[in-house]
């Protein structure tokens, strides 16, 4: 059963075609990795799925419905939640306050104008990512790895159906990296994930299926074994086993 279906998506900036006839399917509860060299258009594709970048042509279906004309917030309300390559959060709020905002969004209680907003119910999500000790800290003062964890906690609190993860390991040290992979693995099966990542070790550990993007086109899609064996992918991206 497919959760996200992208069909013949196109996007170009002037003469530069960043998404060239992309067709991609993410199934329910799978981790689908999107790999490809820098500049292949991976982040752009994520932006088109969330709605931050409009499509020139093609269609995107989520949970059976067309979403490619919906604004960003409406797609998020349907369960498309994103973590950015550079962690994005609300810097004047505490870590817990950030998670509370995700809960306000999910529960649609933004128009509650009188009762004081609280962070009492954010603890389970902070604990889930290992930030339970720093819930009170200003989010801007968190370390880089902690900011990534915070963004995930916000995504979890938003009860996603599909998590779009744009290089969740970028900039993390070896220890943080391992913890992040472990965290994502522990979430496997709870949400579907579309994972953009350069760390091939992590990709092959986590992903059920992999798609390879090269110059805006999907050149291969399949299981880890199939992708590893695909000569076109090896030539274009994986090299001769040095990276994998």
């Amino acid at each position: 059963m497919s959760l996200l279906e992208i069909r013949e998506a196109r996007k170009s900036f002037g003469a530069l075609c960043v998404t060239d006839n992309v067709t991609l399917e993410v199934r329910e509860r799978e981790i689908h990795a999107l790999i490809g060299p820098n500049g292949a258009g991976k982040s752009c594709l994520i932006g088109q799925i969330t709605g931050e970048l409009p499509l020139d042509a093609g269609e995107i279906r989520f949970d059976g419905d067309r979403v490619d004309r919906l604004p960003v917030h409406a797609r998020a309300q349907l369960g498309l939640k994103r973590a950015y390559q550079v962690p994005q959060f609300f810097s004047s709020f505490s870590a817990g306050g950030n998670v509370a905002l995700a809960q306000i969004a999910r529960e649609r209680t933004g128009w509650t104008v009188w009762r004081k907003a609280g962070t009492e119910r954010t603890l389970p999500f902070l604990r889930q990512v290992g930030l339970e000790a720093v819930g009170e800290r200003p989010s801007a003062s968190l370390g880089h790895g902690e900011k990534r964890q915070l963004e995930l906690a916000m995504a979890f609190a938003g009860e996603p159906k599909l998590l779009l993860l744009d290089e969740p390991l970028a900039g993390l040290g070896p220890g943080d990296s391992e913890r992040m992979v472990e965290l994502l693995r522990s979430m496997k099966g709870r949400y579907a994930m579309l994972l953009v990542e350069h760390d091939m070790g992590a990709v092959f550990t986590l992903a059920d299926r992999i798609s390879v993007l090269l110059a805006g086109r999907i050149i291969a899609s399949g299981t880890a074994v199939e992708i590893r064996a695909n000569p076109e992918v090896r030539a274009a991206y994986l090299g001769d086993g040095t990276d994998a």
Partner: protein, 294 residues
């Protein structure tokens, strides 16, 4: 925050005692402070909490003035109705112009709010039946029961009450889910959309509410000066309101109240020494911004 709250409570209590001096001059000065405190606080909601610099807030203040000036002509004088109409008129124009200006942000928002305020200003200037640019005397005071608001003592106590109520409601608003969403939109509107909340309707609601408060301040101002003229809507007044917000630190309501009190006080003191009183005031603002970041 706490110290500022204490200062504001002390200021309000002190203001209650001013009429005991028996000097209408001081009472009127205190009224002026309370009126601009309300207007500056409402602007701080937009500047400090929504993070959008409006350079046209005087338009809504002026609309309130005109409401209080025009309503007696049709026999409406009692406070609840006049103030409600002033608030509603300002809110309505705020809703319409805000719906357009909030499509922009940053520098463009400053320009659009200024442009709308100038439009309102020129409309008032062109209204022949209301003497256009010359303005007109308040035909009859707004009445609190049998008490006219042109009596500074009456107006002072009424404004202290309204200011305290508005500060309390606004404070609650900023601490609620709604207030958190508006502040989050200031921090990172892209992320706000990504978690499923659009910034626009929340900003517009806050903007409309802030305009209503400015309208109420304006209605009171008409009773203080007993004169209504387009210059209450001019960009100079918008700039002065911004001055007060910055003077008292944006983003903490009580700060704007203190900023307004200090501004109006300094204006009185400095203008008694020199007609170039804006110059030292400008120096003070520069020092304030450079020396005290928060």
């Amino acid at each position: 925050m706490r110290t500022r709250l204490v200062i504001v409570v002390v200021l309000l209590a002190a203001a209650c005692l001013v009429p005991l001096l028996g000097q209408p001059y001081y009472t009127k000065l205190a009224v002026r402070m309370a009126i601009f405190a309300l207007a500056a606080m409402s602007l701080d909601l937009i500047v400090g909490y929504a993070g959008l610099v409006s350079f046209g807030h005087a338009a809504f203040f002026g609309l309130g003035c005109y409401a209080a000036g025009v309503l007696p002509m049709v026999g409406v004088q009692n406070v609840p109705v006049v103030f409600a109409v002033a608030a509603f008129a300002a809110a309505l124009i705020g809703l319409v112009t805000g719906a357009i200006s909030l499509r922009a942000s940053g520098l463009y928002f400053i320009f659009i709010t200024l442009a709308f305020a100038q439009m309102v200003f020129y409309v008032a200037q062109g209204m022949r039946p209301l003497s256009g640019d010359d303005g007109f005397r308040l035909p009859a005071p707004t009445m609190l029961g049998k008490l006219p608001l042109t009596n500074p003592n009456v107006l002072l106590y009424l404004m202290i009450g309204i200011l305290a109520l508005a500060a309390w409601v606004s404070y609650r608003l900023t601490r609620s889910n709604f207030g958190q969403v508006v502040r989050a939109a200031r921090d990172n509107p892209m992320k706000l959309a990504a978690i499923g909340l659009p910034a626009y309707p929340y900003r517009l609601a806050l903007y409309t509410y802030a305009c209503a408060l400015a309208g109420i301040a304006g209605a009171a101002y008409a009773n203080l000066t007993e004169f209504i003229a387009p210059n209450t809507m001019s960009w100079v007044v918008s700039g002065e309101l911004l001055f007060m917000v910055i003077l008292g630190t944006a983003g903490m309501l009580f700060g704007a109240i203190i900023g307004a009190v200090v501004f109006v006080g300094l204006e009185q003191i400095l203008s008694s020494y020199t007609e170039y009183w804006l110059f030292p005031l400008g120096v003070i603002l520069v020092l304030r911004v450079l020396l005290l970041k928060r």
